[in-house]
Amino acid sequence: MGRDQWRAALRNPVGAAAAGLLVLLAVLAVVAPILWGDAAEETDPAALSQGSTSEHPLGTDALGRDIMLRVLVATRYSLGLALLATAICVVAGVLLGVLPAVLGRRAGRLVTGTVNLAVAFPGLLLALFFAVIFGVGARGAVLAIGLAGAPSFARLVQTNVAAVSGRDFVAAARLAGVGRFRLVARHLLPNIGEPLVVNATVMAGSALLAFAGLSFLGLGVQPPAYDWGRLLGEGLDRIYINPAAALAPGVAVVVAGLAFTLLGESIAQVVGVRAVRRRRPPVGDQAAAAAAAGSAPETPGDTVLVADDLRVGFPAPRGGWTYPVDGVGLTVRPGETVGIVGESGSGKSLTALAVAQLAPDTADVTAARLEVAGVEPRGRPESEVRELLGTKVAMVFQDPMTSFNPSMRVGTQLAEVTRVHEGQGRRAALARAVDRLRTVRVPAPERRAHQYPHEFSGGMRQRAMVAMGLMSTPELIIADEPTTALDVTVQRQVLRLLKDVQAETGAAVVLISHDIAVVAQLCERVVVMYAGRVVEELPVGQLGAAAHPYTRALLASVPDLATDRERPLATIPGRPPDPADRPEGCAFAPRCAFADDACRVRPGLAAVAPEQRAACWHPRSQPLDLVLDVLSGGRS
């Protein structure tokens, strides 16, 4: 847990209140016994068992001692004992929890089994049991409460350790010869610290309550020592005479217990899912950057997609906004296949999502012009846009497992699309689903339609995803890395399927991929993205004459089956810029061999050849020999 997260936990109002209370309690614990320790012991024979008076606001006990002072002074003992018990619980729990990781397989299983058994016992029962074993008194109670909490803490540690143990870096450390104990101390415990801290905090709260309970029952702190629990017990005897005597220690226990629990909860919240609030950037922010943006080319005739100066922004963690998509212009004609290539983080997927109106809620999407399948989504209510685009735009994602509902049969999910959008009957929709599964060559479609997504192989799921897109007649199919998780043989089938579908339905296809060879196989036109912008667009046949240094470097750096093995591969030095601090001017400049002063101004897309545009001040004109060889030579 980083310092920022701790701070965030405190910024949360509940967390701040809880932390404030705990600080107050800590101060009390330190100073109260020093200031009032003696006064709280002072017996006053003249004021035995009094109610509230001006001298003793909460009254006095049977020996005439001031109850308010006693409650304040008891803070130290109560908190101290609770923390001690928590410490015992945490130490015992961690030891038991990591033991299976240190011991061999068999002994480890024994420990796990024992812990599971102990967890099954109610905690209070366990505490009472231990209290009897260790004997009545503060020491016994601390041990009892600490040990009673240990099994559940141990289990928490065990599950967390097991999760971290499965990660590659632990395996790597093992292979490097790191011993078991060091493995636990350096790799396992530090990486499970967060849930442990949260739980220990919550645990302290319940230890406090449990302790009060034991003392109240007379099993805990023994006279003349006293804690809140004992004060509560004494007060309760006279609750009808002086209710404050019982209420005050009771309130103290509850407040302190709550403070621990709430602090734990608010830390947990910060560590876990961070709440996102929908925000919008100031308008001036958008206008300023729109200046040098890439615009869609002149658009003769009709289009299925026009995006002009498309920008997608997110609130930056340190304030302000970042724009992973920063002025993209994109035009797709009906029936065209366009490939978008770029490295991870270049904004390819976000562009696609924004076009399909599927950008995340926190994103801010703006465009000078945006038209998808004849629909202008801007200025319309979201539900209406979804409705309009639902049948006209189909999306195919990289991981179809996450895009299917795992608990619904594939056929039903496909059928749902038409039922929702076209109000078809159940039977007709299912028949169409089977038909579409057959179209995408899923074998035995009737049987497959009744299966669940996890019963499909990766390639088959991807085909089912395409089938889902075909349930209506889309004008535009956007496929985002549809074959990245697949084997080459299956990849080829899925790409061919997309091509067939496109030929049959006349839909336009936008294929997003990091693999330029894949794009070159399927598409007619390639759009190259870098750092949130389009840097070049050109017909596939012209790839050998790519003009932008980035496109050329990308082509040269990927080995294929004809690459000279004796020559090092071309590389691109450095790494793509973070969207938060992109260089001014050409974003590729820090990695570009041809960069000069001119490149400090952002280049716009400009024609360099027929149908080819590049955003570069110094476009290259000589053909790329490497690519040309391959392009003309074909497969050996």
Partner: protein, 324 residues
């Protein structure tokens, strides 16, 4: 550097109906000072084979040897080092780069350690000052270099690299491949290089072994395997590899509609030749080849060219392209 050899290595997971043989009697030798590339589709058992070698999964039977001596103890296994696919997962996020590397160094003094860490970082083309960075501050390519440096720190006899470039961006992949090739030449490393990408494997390997459903179906010198493959599965892989100037429309033999489109379940591998339901020259296209569905071609493999697990390996592979 020494020779790593697998002899009849078998790894079985689970039991009963969920049992599956992920690696099935693999014989494979990685000669000292050379790079053997292992290709195959996902689930074919490549990673499991590498994990078995370093002892991350137990072998069911067979022997794994270094220069003829069986690997038995943890100490033996430390002479092999595995580099993982995902550099974001294989480095402890809480430890600096230097600490991660130093952990793999043995019995050196503190000052000697720091010097060694710096040397290793330089070896993988990283600034030694990076020793103080946390992995979160590094790019994928840089992290993969650190992972390589950590593997080298243990002074391994053999390095096993499992898909080390597949999680990287294409623009960084090249530099990591250059580094692997360069390190191998400079230090004479023995490497088992695993990848599903034939072009990548071809670029770094001297020998290529092709794995299908837990078995090596073809192995031989890289050029020979790629230019005249002896197993129809290798041919299928070559045909499917995306390449410039090859249109999707050009049908390849594996596009024959009579064939299964995907690998069979490893829980229930086909009888006889495991590839027979996808084989373009097998029984589904040539009904007279009943032997393929009945007799396992694996046992005769050592006598065939490229140790091919195909009854018809000696035939020149003439494949008919199906009409579309």
């Amino acid at each position: 550097m020494r020779e790593l050899s697998f002899e009849g290595t078998t790894v079985r997971f689970g039991s009963g109906r969920s049992a599956l043989t992920a690696v099935d009697g693999v014989d494979l030798t990685v000669p000292a000072g050379s790079v053997v590339g292992l290709v195959g589709e996902s689930g074919s058992g490549k990673s499991t084979l590498a994990k078995a070698a370093v002892g991350l999964v137990p072998t069911t039977s067979g022997e794994i040897r270094l220069d003829g001596a069986p690997l038995r103890t943890r100490r033996d296994r430390r002479r092999l080092q595995l580099v993982f696919q995902d550099p974001h997962a294989s480095l402890d996020p809480r430890m600096t780069v230097g600490e991660s590397i130093a952990e793999a160094l043995r019995g050196r003094r503190r000052s000697a350690r720091a010097a060694e860490v710096a040397r290793l970082l330089e070896l993988v083309d990283l600034d030694p000052a990076r020793a103080r960075s946390l992995p979160s501050g590094l790019s994928g390519g840089q992290r993969q270099r650190v992972a390589l440096a950590r593997a080298l720190a243990a002074e391994p006899e053999v390095v096993l690299a499992d898909e080390i470039t597949s999680a990287l961006d294409v623009s960084v992949q090249g530099s990591v491949l250059n580094l692997v090739r360069d390190l191998q030449r400079r230090l004479g490393l023995t490497i088992l290089f695993i990848s599903h990408n034939l072009s990548v494997v071809r670029y770094v390997s001297d020998v290529i072994a092709v794995m299908y459903l837990g078995r090596i179906v073809e192995a031989g010198p890289a050029d020979a395997v790629l230019s005249s493959p002896r197993h129809p599965y290798t041919r299928t892989l070559l045909d499917a590899a995306p390449a410039f100037g090859v249109a999707l429309d050009d049908p390849v033999p594996a596009d024959d509609p009579r064939l299964d489109t995907e690998a069979p379940s490893p829980h229930d591998p086909p009888t006889g030749c495991r590839f027979h339901r996808r084989c373009p020259i097998g029984p589904l296209t040539r009904p007279e080849r009943t032997i393929c569905a009945e007799t396992d071609p694996q046992p005769g493999a050592p006598d065939r060219p490229h140790r091919s697990a195909c009854h018809f390996a000696s035939e020149t592979l003439t494949l008919e392209v199906p009409a579309r």
